[in-house]
């Protein structure tokens, strides 16, 4: 790794956003390059000074009370507004604010309403991003008995982890991810040079759904639902169908529901 590459990733390294392999490369570069090390130390110092500065503002005690006093007790209560501070907030603007908050504020509603389309797009970009640099794997192991317990402490559901080595899909690890603001488990499998991200999270409702394939920018995405879990596999490999079949057919590693 040269200085240019190292500097591009220095902030992500400082923020602990790199996977273990990249972190190790940066650490190695820093130990050999005094100039980058000075730069890194300055960043580190800046971060520390912000964190110990007590510049984080705590909410005034009276604010919580004020909010509680304004919370409606019944369904149809107008939001109180201290209009003297922001006069001339017209009804139209107020309506557009509500819409803006409704749209930007909670994408999951949208996602469910619009079907899986946006979610698939997000999953594909997650997949691509996970390959690019920062964050493919949090737990690196080909052993399902290592990967599964790692998740169990970090999610409020227990993802299915299966060993598909015999079928030619090597488990290389897993990580936590977020899709549509939900925390999901991402398992990473490898077939030759192709990476497969398998996302899973608890499904709403008990019904099952057979695998459905979509493509985005040359990537394949296959979603299905079974056993109360939603699955979404993403890869550029044409073997993704085989992967999904093999995953569904393989015996799960059992663990107690949490």
């Amino acid at each position: 790794m040269n200085c240019l590459e190292a500097r591009a990733l220095l902030h992500a390294y400082l923020d602990d956003e790199l996977d273990a392999a990249r972190s190790a490369e940066i650490a190695q570069h820093l130990s050999a390059c005094a100039e980058c090390m000075v730069r890194y130390r300055a960043l580190e110092k800046l971060q520390q000074s912000l964190r110990v500065s007590q510049l984080r503002h705590a909410a005034p005690a009276a604010l919580a009370a004020r909010i509680r006093a304004h919370l409606p007790e019944e369904t149809r209560v107008r939001i109180q507004r201290r209009s003297w501070r922001w006069p001339a907030l017209s009804a139209a603007l107020a309506a557009s604010l509500l819409i803006a908050v409704a749209i930007a504020g909670w994408q999951a509603v949208q996602l469910r309403a619009q079907g899986a389309d946006a979610l698939v797009t997000e999953a594909v970009s997650d997949h691509v991003r996970s390959l690019l640099a920062s964050h493919l794997i949090d737990v690196r192991s080909s052993d399902q008995h290592t990967v599964k317990p790692w998740f169990d402490g970090r999610l409020d559901f227990s993802p299915q982890v299966k060993d598909l080595g015999a079928q030619g899909f090597e488990l290389i690890g897993g990580r936590l991810d977020v899709l549509g603001d939900e925390r999901v488990a991402a398992l990473v499998y490898k077939r030759h040079l192709h990476m497969i991200n398998l996302f899973q999270w608890p499904a709403n409702g008990a019904s099952s759904e057979e695998p459905q394939e979509q493509t985005r920018n040359g990537y394949h995405a296959i979603g299905w639902r079974e056993g109360g879990m939603q699955f979404l596999a993403v890869s550029d490999t044409a073997d993704l169908n085989a992967f999904v079949q093999d995953f569904r057919a393989a015996a799960p590693l059992r663990s107690e529901p949490r």
């Binding site: 503002h57 004020r66 201290r82 908050v101 504020g105 603001d181």
Partner: protein, 171 residues
């Protein structure tokens, strides 16, 4: 309709985080309190749409949207209109580490330097350094791409370092 007990348990506990973000955006207590109050009431209204993800991220998203909506003059900043490419590598020189170290230990100077930054820098720094949000959480709150979060944070820190070591702008 959300029950107040659920709302208390999941949302009200993040009031400090909400206020901190609003305060760094608004830069004064009165406006920050109004933003948070407005945001909390909106959060309560929309609580039915909240499906048990990260309540703090959800509330911070609403706080940010509320701030930019109420401060219409800053509303343009809400979108990704800020041209990252124009600012790419604009600031490659390293600030003098020694000057930085002495200034950075003075909280009053750090606060003043932070407040001189544009809001798009203040918000990513407040989220990262004070709320310790991950890049992904910041991306979710601000609606930015994760790569943009990373580059914006890098530039925010460079600007902050320069504010601390460079000439003071007149108060």
């Amino acid at each position: 309709m959300a029950t107040r007990a659920q709302f208390e348990a999941n949302v009200m506990q993040h009031l400090d985080a909400a206020f901190n973000l609003a305060r760094w955006l608004a830069r004064n207590d009165a406006d920050a309190e109004d933003v948070v109050q407005e945001a909390a009431l909106r959060a309560f209204r929309y609580y039915d749409g909240f499906r048990g993800g990260n309540a703090r991220v959800w509330l911070l998203t609403i706080v940010r949207n509320t701030f930019y909506s109420l401060h219409a003059s800053s509303a343009a900043k809400m979108t990704e209109s800020y041209d990252e490419a124009l600012h790419e590598r604009a600031d490659e020189h390293t600030p003098d580490p020694e000057a930085l170290l002495s200034r950075a230990s003075d909280a009053a100077q750090v606060r003043a330097a932070l407040e001189r930054l544009p809001s798009e820098y203040r918000e990513v720094l407040a989220l990262r350094e004070f709320e310790e949000c991950s890049y992904k959480e910041i991306a979710s709150i601000t609606g930015l791409k994760i790569g943009t979060v990373m580059s914006r944070l890098a530039r925010a820190r460079e600007r902050l370092a320069n504010e601390l070591t460079g000439e003071e702008t007149s108060p």
